[in-house]
Amino acid sequence: MDMDLRNLQGYAHIFMSGFLVIMLYWYIIHLYRSEKKGERDYEKYGNIALDDEVTSTPVEDKRASEREYKEENK
């Protein structure tokens, strides 16, 4: 078969699409599995919009976790 550039582009595209579809499905599994295992609670992030005063306690405090990280790596 004649493998000119256009054909190659076509095959590359099919491969990429398949690869990305697998990635996307893997992502769904990853989301549910990590919640089931108790590693992450994704639904709590919905509260970021509801409790959004500048003085509100962050759902996950970035500055506190940075401080912890520094302490751990002293």
Partner: protein
């Protein structure tokens, strides 16, 4: 950056961009209404000499509503909700305030100058990308400034997790940056013709089919990253906040986000069905357009389910009505688009009025409704006053909803009639109708569209008036409302 008790969100930039949203909204929609009327009554082309013709005004309408109205709305809402979901005040960084203000003034002056340039016929003649190269450079600088401001704010945030809306604004920033740069690659004709051409007027760096492909990759994704992504970002913040209900499924919002990112970029070639573009690319455009229903409906259904158990708010609170209608129109246009992208349907729909019909149920019903709802929600927080009139808001809602319905139904009928008439042949294979036959038949539908334009525009003026009165005469609030927007 010290935390202190008096720390407050700074809405000065959000306010400035809100004013621009309203200003460009009035300008863009006024011109849109005028050109809709010109389609029905051609004498209206001769009101202002060359400056009043359809061909001069049409790019002003499209570019002003996209790059003026919508982009201002995106900036205004970003400078409002960006701070809130990151739990950091932009005023905590002098640098970010300066960058934001430079962005505002450069954008304001640049957008006005670009609009005037179109009035004078300075145009690169690529749809939705008509601005000539000097204005493109201004757009790029404004966009980079926004990016710096956005990344800067994210850098100093207190909230570690980026709320889903922030992801959408980031995607809007990156997507438009990439599309705008590639599609607007051009050379002034002066350099392409050894000095015979002009410095201001340019030609595309691509040619023929490639140019068309790049153009529609841009055109379609301008819809994706300008009219869809940031608007979804808005509704993911404003609907939960206004209703007091967290997003129905945060996981679904993440999945829809990545689905949208993955699929949208491939769908642009459906604008070039039945053209000289390679066949597999056309098929790909069609296939990806149909797959696109999934992430789009994923977001829309997520929004509607957010209201689960709280549907009484739909009757109690007109702002919820605006947002629920917006997500319903989002569902309508994201099912209509894929239908039009099916080859056999496209054979009838291509080049007909069904296409602007589709565009407008998206832009009027989804984009504009959501931006107006966002401004209604922000106004009492920014100006510390109640919304001036609930009755006016209700009247505006029904007037504009009727207008959108009239717009898209008239264009559906006009488009399908047009498509069928163009294709009709007699028993010998001769075309049955000449072009003017279609124009005669379509006249009443064009008149209905012009009427719907007038109605929608009046509704927008009611909105502008309500916001103006809120700022100046609304009842003062002592405390910032937590969820539901207070209105008189």
């Amino acid at each position: 950056m010290q935390s202190n008790a008096a720390l407050e969100y700074d809405y000065s930039l959000a306010k400035k961009f809100t004013f621009l949203t309203i200003l460009f909204g009035i300008l863009g929609m006024l011109v849109g209404t005028l050109i809709a009327a010109q389609m029905a009554f051609p004498e209206l082309n001769y009101l202002l000499g060359e400056y009043g013709t359809f061909s001069r005004l049409r790019p002003i309408h499209t570019n002003t509503v996209i790059f003026g109205f919508t982009v201002s709305g995106i900036f205004a809402t970003w400078f409002y909700l960006g701070q809130r979901v990151l739990k950091v005040s932009i005023a905590e960084s002098k640098f970010l305030m300066v960058i934001g203000n430079i962005q505002f003034w450069l954008y304001f002056v640049g957008a006005l100058a670009a609009t005037i340039s179109l009035l004078f016929g300075v145009s690169s003649s690529k749809e939705y990308a008509q601005y000539e190269w000097p204005f493109d450079i201004v757009v790029v600088i404004v966009w980079v400034l926004w990016g710096v401001g956005m990344m800067g704010l994210i850098g100093i945030r207190r909230e570690k997790a980026l709320y889903i809306s922030v992801w959408y604004y980031l995607a809007c920033f990156l997507g438009i940056a990439m599309l705008y740069l590639f599609n607007n690659m051009a050379i002034p004709t002066y350099f392409a013709t050894e000095g015979l051409g002009s410095i201001l007027n340019s030609v595309s760096m691509y040619s023929g089919t490639n140019d068309a492909l790049v153009q529609w990759w841009y055109g379609h994704n301008a819809v994706a990253f300008g009219f869809t992504v940031p608007i979804v970002g808005m509704i993911y913040y404003f609907l939960p906040k206004e209703s007091g209900q967290a997003i129905y499924s945060y996981k679904l919002s993440l999945l829809s986000f990545w689905g949208l990112m993955f699929v949208y970029l491939w769908a642009g070639s459906h604008h070039l069905l039945w053209s000289t573009v390679p066949d597999w690319m056309q098929t790909m455009g069609s296939a990806f357009s149909i797959v696109l229903i999934l992430p789009s409906w994923g977001s829309a259904i997520n929004m509607l389910l957010t209201m689960k158990g709280e549907w009484n708010q739909l009757t109690d609170n007109p702002l919820i009505k605006f947002m629920v209608l917006a997500s319903t129109f989002y569902m309508l246009s994201t099912i209509e688009g894929p239908i039009q992208a099916i080859r056999s349907v496209n054979a009838i729909a291509h080049f007909t009025d069904w296409i602007p019909g589709h565009v407008h149920d998206g832009t009027l019903g989804w984009v504009t409704f959501m931006i107006m709802a966002a401004i209604f929600h922000m106004a009492p927080r920014m100006f510390k006053r109640e919304i001036y009139s609930r009755k006016l808001m209700e009247a505006q809602f029904w007037l504009q909803t009727t207008a959108v319905v009239l717009y898209f139904t008239s264009m559906w009928i006009a488009g399908i009639t047009q498509g069928m008439m163009w294709r009709a042949v007699d028993e010998y294979g001769n075309l049955m109708y000449s072009f003017i036959d279609t124009v005669t038949v379509l006249h009443p539908y064009y008149a209905i569209r012009a009427l719907s334009g007038v109605m929608y525009f009046i509704g927008f003026l009611m909105f502008a008036w309500n916001i103006y009165k809120t700022m100046t005469a609304g009842k003062e609030l002592t405390q910032e409302p937590q969820f539901r927007t207070p209105m008189a």
